[in-house]
Symmetry: C2
Subunit: 126 residues, 2 copies
């Protein structure tokens, strides 16, 4: 039995260091995407498989790292408040997604070369 | 006081998924570089700040993921054996380093855009 092949889009993961305490990688990008779709931290946490606390901490880390926050929250009100991307948040998320695409395109030959050397049926660790 | 700026070369980290149990990222690449320089797993582990056991496990993971091993070891003999990159190991390491360069070049504008929005004196987490 061969293991299921890795999908191209999931193969390369980028982690961009922002400052001495914060970085942005696929986890935070997926969280921002989910937040944009759902308008709620708790719904975005559920969708990305995070606890509410963990999602909140990741967003707080991003908000502290940037000059302007990436996510704004509104407490109370009809519907119990919500959360959404600020213009800066939308800009950063879009730039990160473009960065992923550009990197995968630019490195396609190197990725294919490395992948061509991977065993077809890798022996998993004992 | 401003925090020390992040160096460009360390800003973007790439993690390439190889199969369902193995990936290659900056840690393994640095370990292979150190192995090439030192010819010894224990010296390479010291240089990269890993325990011997951890370095051995990372190399074992790589060797299992590829059709041919990336690192060959010789036990015993004068000098107590040693370890070195195989031709496949050298090919994979060089491709990974080129991938890093190509990705950083292709994404330079996006990285600069994101970096321009980072706070100059980020507020660290509480």
């Amino acid at each position: 039995m061969t293991l299921s092949p890795v999908k191209t889009g999931e193969r390369l993961r980028l982690r961009l260091k922002l400052c001495n305490f914060a970085a942005m990688g696929p986890g935070k990008a997926d969280l921002l995407d989910a937040l944009e779709d759902t308008g709620s931290i708790s719904a975005a946490a559920r969708r990305t498989g995070l606890s509410y606390r963990k999602a909140w901490m990741l967003i707080d880390e991003l908000n502290r790292a940037f000059r302007d926050p990436l996510v704004s929250t509104a407490f109370g009100g009809a519907g119990g408040g919500g959360a959404r991307l600020t213009p800066t948040g939308a800009t950063v998320l879009a730039a990160y997604r473009r960065l992923e695409q550009l990197a995968a395109q630019a490195g396609a030959d190197e990725i294919a070369l490395i992948q061509s050397l991977v065993a077809e049926e890798p022996a998993p660790p004992p």
